[in-house]
Structure formats: C-alpha cells, structure tokens
C-alpha cells in the first residue's frame, strides 16, 4: 500500500493540463491500467499512488477521506462541501480549468439584469403563476447559498444532469445556474448572465482531504511532492497547519 494517494482527472482538458503541469515540475508520470481501474505513478516517487478518476469523483473522494490529495475544479469542491473548514484544504490554484458558475436568465427578460430584479420576478411569478420559479442546475448547494445571500426564497431548484442551458427553451426551468468559460454557449441559447450573478470564479485546485488517514508516510510523501511541484512556496507547512 502506497503512503499517499493523489487523484487526477482521468480525461479531457483537465487531464492534459495536469500532465503538462507535472511535466513542467519535472515529474514523469507512468500510467498503467491496473486490475482495479486506472492507476499511475511518478518516477522516483514509489510511495505515491496516482489514481485517475472523474472530476466529480475526485471531489467526493476528497470529502469522504478516501484519498489524500486531488486535482479538480473548485466548483465541484465547493458544491460537494459548501463548508470546507475541517474537511478540505485548498493547497494551490493551478491556473487552468477556469470557469465561472453563474446565474443566467433569458435575454428576452429585458427587465432583469440583477439579482434584485430576479428577486422581484421570483416573488411576482409565485403570485401570478401560483408556483415557484424553477432554477435548473447541477450546483444545488452553491445555488442555495448564493440565493440565500441575495435574500431570494421564492424559487425551487430543479436538478439538471446535463445541457442545463437548454432548460429555459425546453420549458423545464425558467432560470439556470451553470458553468461557463466564454459565455458563448449561454448566448447561443438566448441566455444572459446577471450583472451580479457570478457565484464562483472557479479554476482547477490542488486540494487535500483533512479527513483522510494522514500517516507519517503520507505526510513525508506529501511534503516531498509539494516541494517538487512548487519549490518556491511553503505549500506543505501551510497544509500541515490544518492536518489533524
């Protein structure tokens, strides 16, 4: 059993960016297809086991304490654990995987440009239509927190598994909370982002689980890895202050 487990995204641009980042730090990753799924290791770091998981699984595994370290989107981490204290520590934002979690409405709604407008419309909609305005999203937790902050309560969340941007046109929701990088997909679907509707400016994060089994071997391996990844910054001492 290796001392430290690190999970990285198993596919897509996040995976490519991770590999590039490791390569730049002089870490050569050797991928193997093991019996229990995708595994890899770094040359010269035998005590570190690298697991290739989906970005969502990495967030939930960090929360569950099944892995020590993981790289995934901050949006997924914050959705999985709205309160990070005591559960996860964000070690370093990685400068890739940029995306914003935003509140978007139809651009046909010319009278709505702020969360305060949306609040008015939610209240009026509940009165006129006898039901709550629906917000389609896969970010239920982030949405609840942000809407509560904006003091909006007259709405309901409709869970969305994919293609959230299509919900207003399909008539399954009136408003969406979704992730966007350039806003092009939203525009193509006739949607606009509210002026103060950015819930989170997300990017890929190297994160540590604070509930994992941090053995002495794991700590030693983690310190060596972080030093290799970013020699200029004392990442490990910042992390160790939070470890149990």
């Amino acid at each position: 059993m290796a001392g430290l487990t690190l999970a990285i995204p198993s596919k897509g641009r996040l995976k490519d960016n991770c590999n590039a980042w490791f390569a730049a730090a002089g870490l050569a990753m050797e991928q193997t297809v093991g019996a229990r799924g995708y595994r890899a290791s770094f040359a010269g770091f035998a005590e570190i086991e690298v697991m290739l998981l989906s970005a969502g699984e990495i967030a939930s595994s960090l929360l569950a304490g099944d892995i020590h370290l993981g790289i995934t989107g901050e949006d997924l981490l914050r959705e999985e654990a709205p309160e990070l204290t005591g559960r996860m520590h964000l070690i370093k934002p990685l400068g890739f995987g940029f995306a914003d979690v935003v509140v978007a409405v139809s651009s046909y709604w010319v009278d709505v440009s702020t969360m305060a407008d949306l609040d008015d419309v939610c209240a009026a909609y509940a009165q006129t239509h006898r039901r709550r305005l629906r917000v389609a999203t896969k970010y239920a937790q982030l949405t609840r927190g942000f809407f509560a902050q904006a003091r909006i309560s007259d709405y309901r969340i409709v869970p969305s598994a994919g293609a959230t941007e299509g919900a207003p046109a399909a008539g399954t929701a009136e408003v969406i909370v979704d992730i966007t990088t350039t806003g092009a997909t939203l525009r193509d679907n006739g949607l606009k982002i509210l002026d103060d509707g950015v819930i989170l400016k997300s990017q890929a994060q190297l994160a540590a689980s604070l509930t994992a089994d941090w053995s002495a071997e794991a700590r030693t391996a983690c310190e060596a890895l972080l030093k290799k990844l970013d020699p200029a910054n004392p990442l490990y001492s910042a992390l160790s202050a939070h470890l149990p």
Binding site: E83, V105, S106, S107, Y108, W109, V110, D111, S113, T114, A116, D117, D119, D120, V121, A123, A124, Y125, A126, T128, H129, R130, R131, R132, L133, R134, R144, F147, A148, R151, S153, D154, Y155, R156, I157, P168, A169, G171, E174, V175, N189, G190, L191, D195
Partner: protein, 376 residues
C-alpha cells in the same frame, strides 16, 4: 433530543396523555381533528413553499419515479385538503402528529417531532380569530401543566402598512415588505433608496420595450408572458425616474425596525416615532393593543410579553400577526409553541379567492422537556 428519537413506555405515556389533554381542549372550542398522510406528494410543499422549507424537507422517489416527501408540517396538507374539499368556512381543524425536518448543519436536532395544533380558516372577523388562536396557544401550555413561559409577538402587517404609507414605487414597496424581517437587508435596501440601485436604465416607452423584445425573438420567454415582461420593464423605468426616499422617513423606518422590548412600551415608542414621521397606522396599532388586552385578560404577565418589530418566523408563509411562546428546558430557552396569520396560503394552494387563515402549533416534546426542567 437525539437526531433519531426513540420513545420508551414512560415517554409514550407522557406524550399520549398530553396529546389527549390538548385535543380535548381543541375539541371544546369546536376544532375537529384531522390527519393528513405522513407521506405526501412533494410538489405541494416544493412548489408552494420556498426553498427554506424545501431545504428542510425529506424527499424520496417512489418506484414509479414520482417525487414524494415526508410532511414537514401539517398546516400545508390540511389547508390543501380544505381547498380540495371546498370546505365551508369558517372551518376549525385540529391535529396532532409527527412532522419530519432535515436539520442541515444541526445534527443534534431531531429529524422528527410531534406537533399539536389548530387551523382557523375563513373567519372574516380577523381580530376575533387572533384572540381565539392566541388564547388557545396560551391555554394549551396551561393544559399541559406548563405555567412558566414568555411570549414574543410581532406583526408583518404593521411594517407592510408602514411601507404602504411611504411615497415609493410599487416594486420597492413590495421588495421592502418581502424582506422586512431580514435584519441588515432592509437597511441596505434603504441605502439603495437613497443612492440608486445601480440597475441599467431601461427605455421608458412601451414601443421601445416592444422593439427590444422583438430583437430578442429567438430567446426563450422562459415561463413569463410578453405582457408580464413589458409591464415590469415599464414599472422599472418609471421607478428609476423617481426613486428617492426622504432621509427623515428612511430614518424612521430604520428606528422602527430596531424596536424590541416589553410590548406596551414598544407600542408607545412606535406611536411616538410614527407621529414624528407623520404616518398614521392607527388600525394596525389598535389591533396590536387588542392582542395585548387578550393576553392580559388571560392573566399573562405583561412584563413577559416581548414585541419585536422585525420579528418574523422562518417559515415563509406568515402574512400578519405572528407569535412564539418560549420556556426553558435543562439546556436553556426553547420555543414551545408558535403561530400566526397566513392569509395567502389558501390561494397559493388553489383556492378561488383569498381565505383568511390563522393557526398555531405546539411542540409537545419540548413542552414535556420544559416541564421536567421546571420541576412542574
């Protein structure tokens, strides 16, 4: 109480005999007991109450994919049934049963607890309804043998009437009313009233707005009618033009929201404040005084009745008079009963016209805990 309570024989006996006493009291006032199903279709709670109730509601899927929930309260299913049955009014309904609440972030709170309560639907004489329900709440605790309790009262209609008396655009009035109980937020709205809300300026004529909409013909209407959008855009433009509140009046609202203390004294302070601001809310103040008189007639010590101007309950459906009864258990103060007016609920649930409604609920397990802590 643990998150998943377990009831032993003495606990069951204590709860049962208390429930019998309460239901007997309710019956003696003409309240007929009803019991909705524990498992409810989720949509009546999720569509008609806000996200706060949804957040606390346990939902589940039945094998056919239909969304169900464990009732988070009894008021909504009882009112729903009254609407479906087209019940003649006034209707007096009593209940005693379990409700289920998810307690996010508070794992020590029970996920299920008993509530005994009453709903008074469609009584036109609102003052009489309030006297009836407030009396029942107080007498309920006494019937249970709990004599040592205090009250917190408030009235959402008082603030509503105050806002209506202000020279403000309709949207701002409704915004202020909707948020009145959220400490800090109304103050920031008042700030925006003085300094503008930073919203993009919209064109002010119907023709201009129609042109804007026509240019966006490809975008989804997303559940709102064209007319709805036009009307709100027109309101928005009009309000941007005359959005200003006299500093003296804004100050009076802020100070009024701050008022909290023994009820009689608080009412006197409100009167003085309204006089300075030149606002007449005599009917609302008279209603509050009638409630205090009710409590006095019941022998409740006036020093134990607290009025809080920005007091509103977390449940989102209250519309007017609200009250809570508090006692102490071995860990400190606990709310043992609460209630209020919810005049928009029946319409939200499908009634053809507005039906006045007021009710209260007793947290029976907390009453027992408070009694045992007080040695009663």
């Amino acid at each position: 109480m643990p998150a998943f309570p377990y009831y032993n024989a003495p606990a069951i006996d204590a709860l049962n005999s208390q429930a019998v006493a309460l239901l007997k009291l309710f019956a003696s006032r003409g309240y007929v007991r009803e019991e909705p199903a524990v498992l409810q279709p989720a949509e009546i709670f999720l569509d008609r109450s806000g996200e706060e109730i949804r957040r606390r509601t346990f939902t589940l899927m039945d094998p056919s994919g239909r969304e169900l929930c464990l009732r988070p309260d009894l008021t909504i299913p009882i009112c729903r049934q009254a609407v479906l049955d087209n019940r003649s009014v006034p209707a007096r309904i009593a209940y005693n049963g379990l409700v289920f609440r998810h307690q996010p972030g508070e794992p020590h709170r029970p996920t299920q607890f008993f509530q005994a309560g009453v709903e008074l639907l469609g009584l036109e004489n609102r003052a009489a309804g309030e006297t009836e329900i407030l009396s029942l709440a107080v007498e309920s605790l006494r019937v249970c043998g709990l004599a040592d309790f205090s009250l917190r009262i408030g009235d959402l209609a008082l603030f509503g009437a105050l806002v209506d008396a202000l020279a403000l655009p309709a949207q701002w009035r409704s915004r202020l009313k909707r948020h009145f109980w959220r400490a800090g937020y109304v103050e920031s709205l008042l700030y925006w009233l003085g300094h503008g809300d930073g919203a993009a300026k919209l064109p002010g004529t119907r023709a201009e707005i129609e042109a804007l909409l026509d240019a966006r013909g490809d975008a989804p209407q997303a559940g709102r009618t064209r007319e709805e959008i036009i009307l709100r855009a027109l309101d928005r433009a009009a309000e941007a033009a005359n959005l200003r509140l006299d500093a003296k009046v804004a100050d009076a609202i802020a100070r009024l929201l701050d008022i909290s203390g023994p009820a009689a004294e608080s009412l006197a302070n409100i009167r003085a404040l309204l006089k300075t601001a030149g606002i007449n809310l005599d009917p609302q103040l008279a209603a509050m005084e009638a409630r205090l008189a009710t409590l006095k007639a019941l022998g409740v010590d006036p020093a134990r009745v607290q009025f809080t101007a920005h007091f509103g309950r977390n449940m989102e459906y209250y519309t007017g008079f609200v009250f809570e009864l508090w006692a102490r258990d071995k860990e400190g103060p606990v709310q043992v009963a609460g209630g209020g007016r919810y005049d928009t609920m029946m319409e939200m649930l499908g009634a053809k016209s507005a039906v006045s409604a007021i009710g209260c609920a007793i947290r029976t397990e907390r009453v027992l805990a408070a009694k045992s802590a007080g040695g009663a």
